[in-house]
């Protein structure tokens, strides 16, 4: 219940007296003209109603938590450790490099270690993400670098040799960080399952498939916005009908935040994009309470001002719940809150290359706040993120231990939403909610996310924020320890030995090996059938109403390549920008 006016008046008066008395004397004693610290009191959460604004975890408006019992508490200690980032149910976290053989061996080697469980969380190389085969001119130098190279179904068959028996496709969930070429990868998974006699209804997984943020922050888009949205529509209608256990998307704020968006922009732009995807699905005839349960969100990214990040995440829960109820008229309370693992509250971008062990401290602080708002204390990224691709096993070990300390020594996950009721936090949560809705209103007014992205507005806003922040770093208004402060010669560099999880020598010749494999597949397949499949895809692509996924499945079964399919689509859809 909000405080009564006479109580507020008393506090107001007392604050005034404190400011003129105790505070003033302190400032005079210390020679300060301005108070360097803020103070929040019940006056700042004026009008706050507990049931309306905060409520109980797992219930509208979800401010206090997305679940009645946080996901971590349900899973911790059951072999599903959430400590080292996106390790939930996924073998060894987000990884990928080299050829499919290298990845298969990577998974099989790790299998012998105590860290087991679940399906792969696959990083693909840039050519695969951007629809070029490993032998394409633009793929040169990029094959197998930022992830594994996948050109044909054969490559998928090889990777998944590591997942058979009690970890066959009907027993695991796969995570794919893939966007523009999602439907082709999905088609490969379907074709692979079929070969193994597993019906597609049993398949579980999550493709990232968030194409709008690619235009804004990540840069792996292929086709222009509208054909890209058509492809996303295809994912959602196909999975709604044929693959009820497959997630269709992972809507991300993370990348936009990393690219420089403010925390309010990251939340607002994520939700604007989400609304565009949801509207896309509704326009295709899907019902909100049928498809919402197959959508997921990644996270909103973060930053070092962790209390503000925590408050902003609480606000985000409330904002989305309102959108689902009021705008999309969802009737199922289970759909009012986004499906997300949380995490990454301190962000990746604050990690410094200077004295990188400090990054462990940075992310541990973020993970503490995550735990305190009912999200898993995901220690991401491991401290050596800025030192190059591939986190060392030492860094992953320390990340896992830090999470264990937070959960099992500090017992921080034993209390739900411990920050609730804090005058500061509730006031900030309210403020961020308002700011997010205001920005959403602006985007609505310009026609929604599709317009905002297509026109370049959303990306420009992010770039402007990045520049504004850079300016603050250069003037010293924002401090980065070891970067723009504490850089004197007497500061010492600290490092521990680091072991790569990947085999360096395999990376070096991955491109040659993959090109040789691709050549072999092309020789052995039926080129006529491939061409027929490509022709069918080309024709179908011209008709906006046709779902291309069944045609992709047919094509990948004939070992048509990612690049060939995308080449046809490029001809029909055009290229982005």
């Amino acid at each position: 219940m909000p405080l009564k006016e006479d109580e507020l008046a008393k506090i107001r008066k007392a604050r005034q007296s404190w400011e003129n008395g105790t505070l003033k004397r302190s400032m005079e004693r210390l020679g300060l003209e301005k108070n360097p610290v803020e103070l929040y009191t019940p006056l700042d959460s004026e009008g706050q109603d507990y049931l309306e604004n905060v409520g109980f975890p797992g219930e509208y408006p979800f401010t206090a938590g997305r679940f009645a019992i946080p996901i971590l508490n349900a899973l911790w200690g059951r072999g599903k450790n959430l400590g080292a980032g996106k390790a939930i149910r996924h073998a060894f976290g987000y990884s990928g490099y080299g050829t499919p053989e290298d990845m298969r061996d990577f998974y099989m080697e790790k299998d012998k270690s105590p860290v087991r469980g679940g399906g792969p969380n696959i990083a693909f190389d840039l050519p695969t993400q951007i629809g070029y085969d490993s032998d394409h001119e633009l793929a040169e130098g990029e094959v197998g670098r930022v992830g594994v190279a996948v050109d044909t179904l054969r490559d998928f068959e090889i990777i998944y040799e590591a997942f058979t028996g009690d970890r066959n496709l009907d027993k695991i969930a796969s995570n794919w960080t893939i966007n523009a070429t999602t439907n082709i990868i999905l088609a490969m998974y379907i074709a692979l399952a079929e070969k193994r006699g597993i019906p597609m209804e049993k398949l579980r997984g999550t493709p990232q498939n968030d194409i709008l943020k690619e235009f804004v922050a990540r840069g792996t888009q292929i086709f222009p916005v509208r054909p890209s949205m058509r492809m996303t529509r295809d994912t959602m209608t196909y999975c709604a009908e044929h693959m009820p256990k497959m997630n269709t998307i992972s809507i991300c704020g993370f990348h936009m935040r990393e690219a420089g968006a403010t925390r309010v922009q990251a939340v607002a732009f994520t939700f604007a994009n989400a609304m565009a995807y949801f509207q896309n699905a509704l326009d295709a005839g899907l019902e909100i309470d049928r498809f919402a349960g197959q959508t997921t969100f990644l996270n909103f990214g973060g930053g070092m001002e962790v209390l503000k990040e925590a408050a902003c995440r609480r606000a985000a829960r409330r904002v989305w719940a309102r959108i689902m109820r009021e705008r999309f008229l969802s009737q199922d309370p289970g759909n009012w809150i986004y499906r997300e693992l949380g995490g990454g509250l301190a962000g990746y971008w604050p990690c410094t290359k200077q004295r990188p062990l400090n990054n462990l401290v940075r992310i541990a602080i973020g993970a503490v706040l995550s735990a305190m708002i009912g999200d898993p204390p995901a220690l991401e990224p491991p401290f050596d993120e800025p030192l190059g691709l591939g986190h060392s096993i030492e860094a992953r070990q320390l990340a896992a231990d830090a999470a264990r300390i937070i959960v099992e020594e500090c017992n921080l996950c034993d209390v739900q939403d411990a920050l609730a009721g804090s005058y500061y936090i509730e006031s900030l949560t309210n403020r961020y909610e308002k700011e997010v809705f205001a920005l959403l209103g602006e985007i609505d007014a310009m026609g929604g996310a599709v317009e905002a992205v297509e026109s370049g507005w959303m990306k420009l806003e992010v770039v402007k924020s990045a520049e504004e922040f850079q300016r603050k770093i250069e003037t010293g208004e924002v401090i980065q320890v070891g970067v723009n402060k504490y850089t004197e010669p007497e500061e010492i560099e600290v490092m521990v030995p680091r072991t790569s999880p990947y085999r360096a020598e395999r990376k070096e010749d991955a491109e040659q090996r993959q090109i040789a494999s691709l050549r072999k597949v092309k020789q052995e397949r039926n080129s006529q059938k491939v061409q027929r499949c490509l022709d069918k895809i080309g024709n179908a692509a011209k008709d906006e109403q046709v779902n291309l996924i069944p045609l992709f499945v047919e094509a990948v079964k004939e070992y048509t390549t990612v690049g060939e399919i995308c080449g046809v689509l490029r001809n029909v859809f055009g290229e982005a920008r």
């Binding site: 990029e142 670098r145 840069g219 800025p386 691709l389 770039v463 920008r577």
Partner: protein, 138 residues
């Protein structure tokens, strides 16, 4: 006397890496410092970058790579610059480049390598001090 010629810089993204925050911030910094900056946008081949460098008559080619493919690209760019007789222009690289690779790049002929631990003032000063020298040989 010594008239200060405006330094012309080509900031380029080669290969398929789509992360452009660093490149965009650099463009804006260099412009603020009075240089003329041309930005290629994403996904350029080596041939395209070198052709643009010649067409725009730049003094500096700056390439940003975060995908780990810096070594093959450095090799190819230097080779192409020699082939097209612009090896006197200043060639610098930036991005996510492990420290252990920097000496290799410098030996190849990359004039300077700037990673996350570099600041924009450092890069601006380096270009200003070294581009003029490179430009004088023209």
């Amino acid at each position: 006397m010594n008239e200060e010629k405006t330094i012309r810089v080509l900031v380029a993204k080669v290969g398929l890496d789509g992360h452009d925050k660093g490149a965009l911030l650099l463009c804006s910094r260099l412009r603020y410092a009075g240089m003329e900056v041309i930005y290629t946008g994403l996904r350029n081949t080596v041939d395209q970058v070198v052709a643009t460098a010649i067409q725009e008559d730049v003094d500096v080619i700056g390439v940003s790579i975060l995908s780990g493919s810096h070594r093959p690209f450095a090799e190819k760019i230097i080779r192409k610059m020699k082939e097209k007789h612009i090896e006197d222009r200043l060639f610098v690289m930036g991005g996510v480049i492990p420290d252990e690779d920097i000496p290799l790049l410098l030996n190849m002929g990359v004039a300077g390598v700037f990673t996350q631990s570099s600041n924009f003032q450092e890069i601006t000063d380096f270009i200003r001090n070294n581009a003029k020298a490179a430009g004088c040989t023209k």
